[in-house]
Amino acid sequence: MQTPAEFRSFYDRELLPTLQNLESDRKKLVRGVFKWALFGLIPGLIPLLIFGSVDFFWIGIGVALAIGLYFLLNYKKINEIKARFKSEVIAKLVKSIDPSLTYNSSQCISSNDYHKSKLYLHGINRYKGDDLVTGVVGKTSIRFSELLTENETRSRDSNGNEKKSIETIFRGLFFVADFNKKFIGETIVLPDTAESLFGSLGTMFQKWNMSRDQLVKMEDVDFEKAFAVYSNDQVEARYILSTSLMQRILQFREKTRSKIGLSFIDSEVFIAVPLKENLFEAPFFSSMVKFDMIDGFNKYLVLFIGIVEDLNLNTRIWTKE
């Protein structure tokens, strides 16, 4: 892993020239926006010359139209900059962490993986994502991407008007890896809200959770506070969640500062990390040459590629190769 100083020098050497290049293109496009906005003032200024009074309505319309037209005409160029940011900066970041990994900016974790994980049982009808990273770290194959799943519902109010509402089910990074132990059952580790809020009463609610398998009480107190474990096999759940893995999961959760969920199904581990921000995107109205932004993206990549180490997935001392 790179030290902060090593990353800084990598940034200066490999990324800065690209970023500066992209930045000058971005600035040109942004300047265009302002130029067109000025043109947009013209129809509003005509009445000023004729009648001596400003018509704000026409100024607003003119500017909005001009800017809209500008974006329409330059849509391709803007997207090109954003795409270049991904292919030239983000891809390089991924390669710098592990050269064997592949980055694909437009693909994402398959909906098959998402549903198979059983982490989110809520129905969805919108599924999208990007920034897929795939590859093999040591002996463990991994894949992760950004994901956004939503449920759109339409209803009619009392006046008969159709109302559309969109509920976000998951937004964040979704990670799948080959697990180092063989197992046949299903074990799901969900963030615990009931127990941390209501104590033992919460445990009772967890037991009554009809949509899940049996509740598995783990002996690690901190782990129990943070998570609720459901499984169809009490022994296998403990075989998967060894005492050391529980500690490792807790440490990983600390690092993400997010309410993570994990599931162990079909000899794979699925990890969902809800995040608020949209990662790995190039800014348009602010500068691209920002070390902190790139450093932030890099930290997320390191964190996710590091899951293999964090959860000790390369230790293959059991029958699974």
Binding site: V235, A237, T243, W318
Partner: protein
């Protein structure tokens, strides 16, 4: 009339609560037995591995011949089925300890370490060990929830009435606790 209905209602409610508590106690006790059974299943899996493991290391490990013989003997004793629980635990612990020594001794036999059949057996062994530990943890969790039911009010009253007694959790011997660090054996 009304007070009578209230009284009947009260009695019915009480009966339902008692049935609920009783069933909960029985359920918890059965879970303990079930969990105990699963330890047995895992232990049996480990016994099955021993003859193959002994066979594959015998040719290489000339110096450990005595150890291997006593491992075979202990296994025979363990599966004979006429041991008390204490004796069985004792035999189990001895067996685990000896196998651990064998696994450590493997380090000084490079040809053995390179033997693919042996490495597979070794992996199976680690798996069995980890599964036994998981089964024991499951047993302890079942015992804890049973003991809670026996001792927490109000079910404690009925527990003593129906003859439910507190059960002891599995105490894992000190040597066994170290054994999970199988990683150390293989230098990761």
């Amino acid at each position: 009339m009304a007070p009578m209905y209230i009284a009947i209602g009260g009695v019915v409610l009480l009966i339902i609560i008692v049935i609920g508590i009783y069933n909960n106690l029985v359920g918890a006790r059965n879970q303990v037995e079930n969990a105990f059974g699963s330890i047995d299943v895992m232990l049996k899996k480990r016994y099955d591995l021993i003859p193959n493991l002994v066979e594959s290391v015998k040719a290489y490990m000339k110096h450990e011949k005595d150890t291997l013989t006593s491992i075979t003997e202990l296994r025979a004793k363990a599966i004979s089925g006429n041991l008390s629980t204490e004796e069985r635990i004792d035999v189990e612990n001895k067996l685990s300890g000896m196998m651990r020594n064998v696994m450590v001794a493997v380090e000084s036999y490079p040809e053995l370490k390179a033997d693919s059949q042996f490495t597979m057996l070794q992996r199976s062994w680690n798996e069995a060990e980890e599964q036994i530990s998981a089964a024991r943890r499951a047993y302890n969790a079942a015992v804890t929830s049973y003991n809670n039911a026996c001792e927490k009010f109000p079910s404690s009253i009925f527990a003593s009435m129906f003859g439910h007694k507190r059960k002891a959790v599995f105490v894992i011997p000190e040597v066994e606790r170290q054994n999970i660090s199988a990683k150390a054996l293989f230098g990761n």
